[in-house]
């Protein structure tokens, strides 16, 4: 993590294709917002300010997936200007929900939605996470990222350190919150496969985790597959459920799994 001792960190917040939830989450830190703007030199943040500068940066937070050629250029430019590039939110880290299609499916669907019209301002490309195009220094997943995670990142970054990360699954926080496990009740919860950080929002409310933070490091997909199958779920349906939020990154697993179970 870069830092200059006397000057405030120069931070830029950029949005590619997505729901803008991660940028909005920064604005949702209402009680901390004034401190944030005082502690850091926010150079660019389209959603919040109009006097934006495109200069050298210490940190660039990039949210959204890469979905047009113009965004590829923009992203490369950000990489050139920033010491540290952070993939901010699930769309940037994993491609988001829009990245779950295969290339062919995507082409087909694009045609169905937009017909043959050629866009004048830029060409669409299959949505991908930003590390498909540039080197990424840090990943903050989540759909959207959480306030705690963002503030933890920010306060540590301001002092020149990366955040502490615990690559745990959702179950960890779910247990802290003393939820009765949904898997035991036969509800298809993806908690064991999903990166922690949301606060176990869904199981807190008796709703099974949908996996919106993307796959957890070290997750045991095979075991969960068979467990859900044993609970009466259809293999294809489980796969689809798992793929919803994992973007392009679950594909590798499916390939491996296919080989293993043959």
């Amino acid at each position: 993590m870069s830092k200059n001792n006397d000057k405030k960190l120069k931070i830029g917040i950029y949005e590619l294709t997505g729901c803008a939830g991660d940028g909005l989450l920064i604005l949702d830190c209402e009680m901390e917002l004034v401190d944030i703007f005082q502690a850091a030199d926010i150079q660019s943040f389209l959603m919040a300010k109009s006097d934006n500068i495109d200069g050298e940066l210490d940190i660039a937070l990039v949210e959204g997936s890469v979905s047009t050629e113009r965004e590829i250029e923009e992203l490369k430019d950000i990489r050139k200007r920033a010491q540290v590039v952070v993939a901010f939110g699930l769309c940037a880290t994993h491609g988001g929900i829009q990245a779950r299609f295969s290339e062919e499916e995507w082409q087909k669907n694009l045609k169905e939605v937009y017909g043959d019209i050629e866009m004048s301002h830029t060409k669409a490309v299959h949505s991908k996470p930003i590390d498909e195009y540039i080197d990424v220094d840090l990943y903050l997943p989540g759909c959207p990222v959480s306030k705690d995670q963002f503030l933890n990142f920010l306060v540590r970054a301001l002092g020149g350190s990366p955040p502490e990360v615990y690559p745990n699954p959702v179950c960890v926080t779910c247990k802290y919150n003393e939820n009765d496990c949904l898997l035991l009740k036969g509800i298809p919860c993806l908690g064991p496969l999903t990166a922690d950080g949301c606060g176990a929002i869904c199981p807190n409310h008796n709703v099974p985790c949908y996996g919106c933070w993307g796959p957890a490091e070290g997750a045991n997909f095979t075991s969960e597959f068979y467990l859900l199958q044993e609970k009466g779920f259809d293999m294809e349906a489980i796969k689809k459920r798992m793929a919803n939020y994992s973007g392009t990154k679950l594909q590798e697993f499916f390939e491996k799994f296919k080989k293993e179970s043959q």
């Binding site: 993590m1 830092k3 540590r156 002092g159 020149g160 350190s161 990366p162 502490e164």
Partner: protein
């Protein structure tokens, strides 16, 4: 654990002592030397430790991590560390300058069994960052020269530029009460006058080793252990006279956070120094 230093609940054992960096300079590109003094003079002098013990160093905003004490207890007051840039704590530490503050707590760990080593020949084999704890052993033995028999040092590095304490050791090597051998895997400078080859290529140079009276001490990267241990065994050094220090994840240093547990041994309490005998009886160790 040294009972004299046992800290009671009144003085929260997790609370570091403010300390200042007295001196810091690079030993190599990614290993820096740090000399640190506890700010409170009285506490600085009463910080007594043994060779092979470690301390927790904390850096504001980055965290805390364990580091072997590289200085010798025979020279109290200042603590020396030799630290490789690895992650959050160490990177931040590298940005600090002389006079900046860090936090220190310790010393922790069992340290080397000095009593058992006394009167024996000491064969020290270190590689890479293994020099951090073993420099303390070496300096201590030299400072208390008459307590020990022969002192033999084998030290290896990848390249001359990566040899920790190179100049200090080249100097020490000139002493006639020490048999010192330095080696590099490869010499890219053309100026290296010492041995070239991995550290085990130094063993044939050793003469008249009396295994029963020798304590072998080794610390280095994981691959090194395997080969050096074989050499020790070839020399017939008894397993309980072969000593090594191990690394594990640690968050507390005092046997509470659980991370350093190997089977049911806490590395921070019963280690980090283990004999080869211990190691062969601990299933998870190597």
């Amino acid at each position: 654990m040294n009972t004299e230093n046992k800290i009671t609940a009144q003085s929260n054992p997790f609370l570091p002592e403010p300390a200042r960096i007295v001196r810091t300079y690079p030993l190599t590109d990614d290993v820096h030397f740090f000399q640190v003094r506890i700010a409170d003079m009285e506490k600085a002098l009463s910080f007594r430790y043994e060779i092979g013990q470690f301390a927790m160093i904390s850096v504001l905003g980055a965290g805390e991590a364990p580091f072997s004490i590289s200085s010798t207890p025979s020279r109290p007051g200042l603590l020396e560390f030799c630290i490789r840039r690895a992650g959050a704590v160490t990177s931040k530490l590298f940005q600090l300058k002389e006079n900046d503050f860090v936090g220190i707590r310790g010393p922790y760990g069992n340290g080397f069994p000095v009593e058992k080593m006394q009167g024996k020949d000491i064969l020290i084999v270190m590689g890479g960052l293994g020099a951090a704890p073993l420099r303390s052993v070496l300096l201590y033995c030299l400072d208390n020269r008459d307590l020990f028999g022969r002192i033999i040092l084998l030290h290896g590095a990848k390249r001359p530029a990566e040899m920790l304490f190179r100049d200090e050791l080249l100097d020490i090597k000139k002493r006639d009460d020490l048999e010192g051998y330095l080696t590099v895997d490869g010499d890219d400078t053309g100026q290296w006058t010492e041995n070239v080859g991995v550290v085990t290529t130094l063993f044939p140079k050793l003469e008249n080793i009396n295994p029963e009276n020798t304590v072998g001490v080794v610390c280095g990267p994981p691959v090194m252990y395997k080969f050096v241990l074989q050499e020790f065994l070839k020399l017939d050094i008894p397993k309980d006279q072969i000593l090594m220090t191990l690394e594990r994840r640690m968050k507390c240093g005092v046997g509470k956070c659980g991370h350093c547990a190997i089977d049911y041994i806490y590395t921070c309490l019963e280690g980090p120094v283990f004999s080869y005998w211990d190691v062969t009886h601990m299933r998870e160790l190597i």
